[in-house]
């Protein structure tokens, strides 16, 4: 027996589906994220990423950096993460990434934000109620400098589709 509040509750959905995307459309993603030194150490050690630039401050300084360098793969994951609600949360597996460039180093306490543009969409020939969408996603630091850009492609559910 469901409690009464559950029967009265209205589901607040998040995100977009295939039909919501238009080629050329720009999506400014939510939240932003300040990268802390601990985020970087945790990410680099959990992924076994053994370049001392990401976890040895004195080594990073000896290579001309003002601080420990944030692992570019954490930058990549954070920028994608910020874009997920707008682009892919409604479902459809992540297919791939092309032309990803790391433009500038990111340091602890830098704040990242993400913006995407829809570059391509088409219906899947093999999966019903499913499309394939490609976005150009850019990540910026707090000085509005481009730190990363990439092209991401996902399966994207049409209305009534399911994974």
């Amino acid at each position: 027996m469901q409690p009464d509040f559950m029967k009265r509750a209205q589901l607040r959905t998040k995100g977009n589906q295939y039909e919501d995307f238009t080629v050329g459309q720009e999506l400014v993603h939510h939240w932003g994220r300040t990268i802390n030194a601990s985020d970087n150490s945790l990410f680099s050690t959990l992924t076994l990423h053994f370049n001392p630039l990401y976890f040895n401050l004195e080594y990073a300084k000896a290579h001309g950096h003002p601080d420990i360098v944030v692992n570019p793969l954490l930058v990549f994951n954070t920028i994608i993460g910020l874009s997920v609600q707008d682009l892919s949360e409604m479902g459809g597996p992540f297919l791939g990434i092309d032309n990803m460039t790391f433009h500038k180093p990111v340091y602890p306490n830098d704040t990242l934000t993400a913006v995407s543009t829809v570059v391509d969409k088409r219906a899947s020939s093999s999966r019903p109620k499913t499309g394939i969408v490609t976005w150009h996603t850019k990540g910026f630091n707090q000085r509005a400098e481009l730190v990363i850009d990439l092209h991401r492609t996902n399966l994207s559910l049409m209305r009534g589709g399911s994974i």
């Binding site: 998040k14 939240w31 994220r33 985020d39 945790l42 990410f43 680099s44 959990l46 992924t47 076994l48 990423h49 053994f50 370049n51 001392p52 630039l53 040895n56 004195e58 080594y59 300084k61 000896a62 290579h63 570019p72 793969l73 954490l74 990549f76 994951n77 954070t78 994608i80 993460g81 910020l82 997920v84 609600q85 892919s88 949360e89 479902g91 597996p93 992540f94 297919l95 791939g96 990434i97 092309d98 032309n99 990803m100 460039t101 790391f102 180093p105 990439l150 399911s162 994974i163």
Partner: protein
């Protein structure tokens, strides 16, 4: 700080020969620490990666490890051999997620050296790698190319 004693001596720019294929020594089993922690840390809001209950009704039947985590683990497992003496990661391309990864799967990394080219700095060169991630059943779950700026031994091995 003397830096050269902190990193290996078999992975400078001069050591990479196109065509070489490397099997990296360590694998890692994917669990909550890898998938859920990193997915949440980077604010990926897709609950397919962290809601086991919701995924029971999907065609996958369980949580999926996030592709960004799988890619990062594979590059990480390849890093001691391909990034320990890197000055910078330059970019990646042709990344494909070719099979799902579930909690409990174990990933391993393989790398082929595709090309070595001079850079505009005298003390380093650019190496292009192809990486593969495979699971415990030798199924390829990830592949992608990566460009890295790596120190030259000639300039860095005595610093």
């Amino acid at each position: 700080m003397k830096t050269q004693t902190l990193t290996g001596n078999d992975n400078y720019f001069e050591d990479f020969v196109p065509g070489t294929v490397i099997r990296h020594v360590r694998g890692k089993t994917v669990g909550d620490l890898e998938n859920v922690l990193i997915t949440n840390l980077v604010m990926n809001t897709a609950q397919a990666h962290f809601n086991e209950h919701a995924m029971k009704d999907s065609s996958f039947g369980q949580r999926l490890s996030y592709g960004g985590v799988n890619a990062s683990l594979v590059i990480g497992m390849a890093s001691q051999d391909t990034a320990e003496n890197a000055l910078a990661e330059l970019g990646m391309d042709k990344i494909r997620f070719t099979a799902p990864v579930y909690h409990g799967d174990t990933l391993y990394a393989f790398t082929e050296v595709l090309a070595v080219t001079a850079s505009d700095r005298a003390d380093a060169g650019e190496v292009r790698f192809k990486h593969w991630g495979v699971n415990q059943n030798d199924v390829v779950v990830f592949e992608g190319e990566r460009r890295v700026l790596i120190k030259r031994r000639s300039h860095w091995s005595s610093r």
